[in-house]
């Protein structure tokens, strides 16, 4: 049932495209372009019909699993249902079919939506100003650290380190490096939270910032956040909030109120813009007032009801996108937030947390719960008990696929062995949660009864377990 590659459908002379006849003279570019710059032979792309293309990609889609297929409990990824109306809004010709170089007076409708989105995000987060330019979460982190960098630069302070807890996403340390910082890892304590002593030890006048997710990747709220903030601020550093877990706290707590100075949002998580199989995302950054001058340019501004891009930002950290960021994603997030409004966001968080706690309550007997602290929208189990029977978390994940359900995030956070990070989101219904519970219970039973079978999973998927080692050893990256 493998689908061939699109090139395998190719036959010389077959056409899938449709273009008007050229209605002007055809001239030879070789006559006027620098020698050797006109290609002799057209690029060897497939020659297929429209029918071939449609069937091929329809078939590929059927080899994929999306949120519309069922539960997608990837911890920290917030795979919630993507409302269809957001797709409609992003496709309204008057909104989609505008060019980034149109003068601002021609695009006031869109700018008003972006401006509103900024105001919403500021209110939701308790931050003062927002840039929408970053095109993904990691991009947002990068912009955030670059703002911090510029801030210290302007003040003439040299600070070279960024502290990152060991439970942090891999993007945090990688971002620190990219922004020219040295990443310093600190350990978590036995309750899964930032260890204050380790933090104190790491803090010195070389520290530019602490990057933190709250609730953290264990789903646990860092209760000591106010103390943490004070410690960092007292050491002259700034506090960076990784917004990956915002779905846990909408309307309940705000990074701004926790004294974070900079943060990023993941519109494709919290605000339900589709992940698209790995993007596009969007990672707006929020800052406290004193950091506003350092935001990327251009900066969206309003004056007397007119919206425009301000390029005159002498202290800006610069630019990270060719244009203004992932506009189409912003339209979707605008729709989502505006539609939910004042009361809806709170319900999102409440039900996300309820669903996660329900799963946790039901699963903690069959699987080890390494940290017992209260958790919010997600929680982490360990497959250690099962590992003792020879079945790894990877095997469990693969076995879940046989039951037509996606697996949790596995082997992350690194501080838990055989970890499974589970985030159901608010859009799963009880039936689907119960089915997930039942399946994990079944797998636990299967591990007792027939561990070899589980180790060989998946059995019913379109391909069985794939050899990743071979793929890395002998990279076959193109046809």
């Amino acid at each position: 049932m493998n689908e061939p590659l699109i090139k395998d459908f190719s036959t010389p002379g077959r056409k899938g495209y449709s273009l008007p006849e050229l209605d002007v003279d055809r001239v030879d570019p070789k006559a006027s372009l620098p020698e050797g710059t006109v290609r002799e032979e057209a690029p060897d792309l497939p020659e297929v019909s429209e029918v071939d293309v449609v069937r091929h990609f329809t078939s590929l889609s059927e080899m994929n699993y999306g949120v519309d297929s069922g539960i997608y409990p990837l911890g920290s990824c917030t795979m919630k249902y993507n409302p269809k109306i957001n797709e409609d809004v992003a496709r309204i010709p008057g909104l989609a079919n505008i060019h980034p170089f149109q003068p601002v007076n021609e695009v006031q409708g869109s700018l008003s939506m972006l401006y509103d989105l900024k105001r919403y995000l500021a209110e939701i987060s308790g931050m003062d100003e927002i840039t929408l330019q970053p095109a993904s979460g990691a991009h947002g982190e990068y912009v955030g650290l670059m703002i911090i960098r510029k801030y210290f630069e302007t003040r003439g302070e040299e600070r070279n380190k960024v502290i990152v807890p060991d439970s942090a996403h891999g993007t945090n340390p990688a971002t620190a490096t990219m922004a020219g910082y040295e990443a310093v890892e600190i350990e978590s304590n036995d309750r899964g939270m930032v260890d204050l002593d380790s933090l104190k030890e790491a803090l010195d006048d070389d520290v530019a910032a602490l990057m933190l997710t709250n609730p953290n990747t264990l789903g646990i709220f860092e209760k000591d956040i106010c103390e943490i903030a004070d410690l960092v601020h007292d050491a002259g550093g700034l506090l960076y909030y990784d917004g990956a877990n915002m779905n846990a706290i909408l309307s309940y707590a705000r990074p701004g109120d926790m004294n974070f100075d900079v943060m990023h949002f993941n519109l494709h998580k919290t605000f339900s813009t589709p992940h698209g199989g790995g993007g596009p995302g969007s990672g707006p950054v929020g800052v406290k007032r004193f950091l506003t001058p350092y935001l990327p340019k251009p900066f969206l501004t309003e004056k007397e009801g007119e919206y425009f891009w301000d390029y005159d930002r002498p202290d800006s950290m610069g630019r990270v996108h060719s244009f203004y960021g992932n506009y189409g994603v912003m339209l979707r997030a605008f729709t989502y937030i505006r539609g939910h409004g004042k009361t809806g966001l709170k319900e999102i968080t409440e039900n996300a947390v309820l669903n996660a706690n329900y799963l946790k309550a039901k699963l903690k007997d069959d699987y080890e719960l390494p940290f017992s602290a209260d958790s919010l929208h997600e929680f982490v189990l360990s497959g250690s008990k099962q590992k003792e029977k020879g079945v790894s978390t990877l095997n469990i994940a693969k076995r879940l696929l046989d039951y037509d359900q996606y697996a949790p995030t596995i082997y992350f956070p690194l501080i838990v062995k055989e970890s499974m990070m589970i985030e159901p989101t608010e859009t799963e219904n009880l039936r689907s949660l119960d089915r997930f519970i039942e399946t994990l219970e079944t797998i636990s039973r299967e591990i007792d009864e027939d561990p070899e079978m589980v180790k060989k999973a998946p059995h019913t998927t379109i391909v069985r377990k794939l050899d990743e080692a071979q793929a890395a050893r002998n990279p076959d990256l193109r046809w």
Binding site: V24, L45, P100, M113, R149, S322, Y327, E350, I462
Partner: protein
């Protein structure tokens, strides 16, 4: 609007199974002093119907490209997009999926990316392409960082013939890593090659060339490549318009080390600048490959020997390598890459050539007709792909606004970039001769009025 399934009764049942009374009990870990004690100041929720009315009203405040005849380009190009692309992309198995962590349930995304990588590699004449980056500008930023890491040098030659925004992004990315950017001036609409030759030395990590360049002209790639080749370590980074590669020699044939660019022209709409996709392709070189940022998909086999696809070479990436990763990039632009893949498949060998040639020839036609207008100069002469740089005595802003009154978006006013004056005019296959003739008439009036 609301997408929650739990009813109050179900909530009650679940709470009781958890062992708490109220939903708010689940939030007790949040200290009171930071717990929000008032509702967010947001508008009230609205229904789908109200939402559609609201956004349609906003849309009506825009002038969109169906309402005006647009000659805007400068990095965002209005090519024809085959109808099937959106139909395929609306298959929810594609657009509601995450990064393909579980390969066995993600073969669709993975195979599509493998096909994308293959076609990008073919188009650019390079050995290896990655699964996409965030956009053209940030792809340039990543390429610069890659060159710095690879060469351990820090001089980067970045001529002014490169898109001003890309240069800004490049400077941002290079900044923390002590990149020493050298800008090279223009000679007409081309990079001043004498200056380039002068600046290029054995401390040079990379020379960046845009192809065609920002002003629409095609650089003398052979000459440039020969210069770069003289410096053993220096990498040649080419920022190429992928549609132009339907007509232009692929950078790989000139010995480019890294080719990056904006993939938007491949079947993605103009969409006010995003989401687009950056593409990146490199020479088939294991050392370079290890420095490459972004996802890669490889072909492999399952336990039964059946072919399948996985994300691979992940030890380069942030989730494995953490602070030692080649980039912090995680989410890329998979769905946009899928659109580009479907575009390349649909257009195919002949179609992409035809789009390129039509764009070129229509531009040539317009150029010829514009040259007949006194008081107007086409800086490119006959060296252009689908953009031309037009100078007039009158400020470009005045010309733009006069043509806008006739529902024509005459081009990008270059003065906004504070370097040059004039209009950058873009013509794609979507224009008809009749459109172009109207443009010329309007321009005649505007220039000479």
């Amino acid at each position: 609007m609301k997408y929650i399934s739990n009813t109050p009764e179900e909530q009650k049942k679940m709470l009781s199974d958890i062992g708490v009374e109220e939903i708010t009990d689940l939030f007790s870990a949040i200290p009171d002093n930071i717990k929000l004690d008032k509702p967010l100041e947001l508008p009230d929720p609205i229904s789908e119907l109200e939402m559609m009315n609201l956004v349609n009203e906003r849309a009506s405040r825009n002038t969109d490209l169906t309402e005006a005849d647009s000659y805007l380009g400068a990095g965002s190009y209005d090519h024809y997009i085959p109808s099937i692309i959106d139909h395929m992309v609306l298959r929810s198995e594609f657009y509601t999926a995450y990064t393909p962590y579980q390969a066995e349930l993600s073969q669709g995304t993975l195979q599509a990316i493998y096909e994308y990588q293959s076609m990008i590699a073919e188009l650019t004449g390079m050995g290896i392409a990655n699964a996409s980056l965030l956009d053209g500008g940030s792809a340039l930023g990543e390429a610069i960082l890659m060159a710095l890491r690879h060469t351990r040098l820090n001089k980067v030659i970045m001529p002014k013939s490169i898109h001003p925004s890309y240069r800004e992004v490049g400077r941002t990315y290079g900044g923390p890593h002590n990149a020493d950017f050298q800008e090279i001036g223009l000679s007409g609409s081309l990079t001043d090659l004498e200056q380039l030759e002068e600046a290029l030395d054995d401390q040079t990590a990379a020379v960046i060339i845009q192809y065609p360049n920002f002003y629409g002209s095609v650089e003398d790639m052979k000459k440039i490549a020969a210069m770069v080749e003289k410096q053993k370590k220096t990498l040649l980074i080419v920022a190429a318009n992928p549609i132009a590669l339907g007509m232009l020699t692929p950078p790989g044939e000139f010995g480019a080390d890294i080719v990056i660019g904006e993939g938007q022209p491949l079947g993605n709409g103009v969409n006010y600048g995003g989401p687009y996709l950056g593409y990146m392709a490199i020479r088939d070189d294991r050392r370079l490959l290890r420095q490459m940022p972004g996802r890669l998909v490889g072909k492999t086999e399952d336990v039964e020997g059946q072919e399948g696809f996985v994300m691979t070479m992940q030890t380069r990436e942030q989730h494995i390598r953490r602070e030692k990763a080649t980039s912090n990039i995680c989410t890329n632009e998979s769905l946009n890459a899928l659109m580009a893949t479907i575009y390349m498949a649909t257009m195919g060998k002949k179609g992409i050539e035809e789009v390129a040639y039509q764009s070129f020839n229509k531009t040539r036609y317009l150029k010829g007709r514009l040259e007949g207008i006194s008081g107007l100069e086409v800086v490119n002469g006959d060296n252009h792909f689908h953009e031309i740089w037009v100078k007039t005595e009158k400020p470009a802003s005045e010309i733009f606004s006069e043509l806008y009154d006739k529902c024509i978006l005459a081009g990008v006013d270059l003065s906004q970039f504070d370097e040059e004056e004039g209009l950058l005019i873009c013509v794609t296959e979507k224009k008809t001769r009749e459109d172009l003739d109207k443009f010329v008439s309007a321009m005649e009036v505007a220039v000479n009025e």
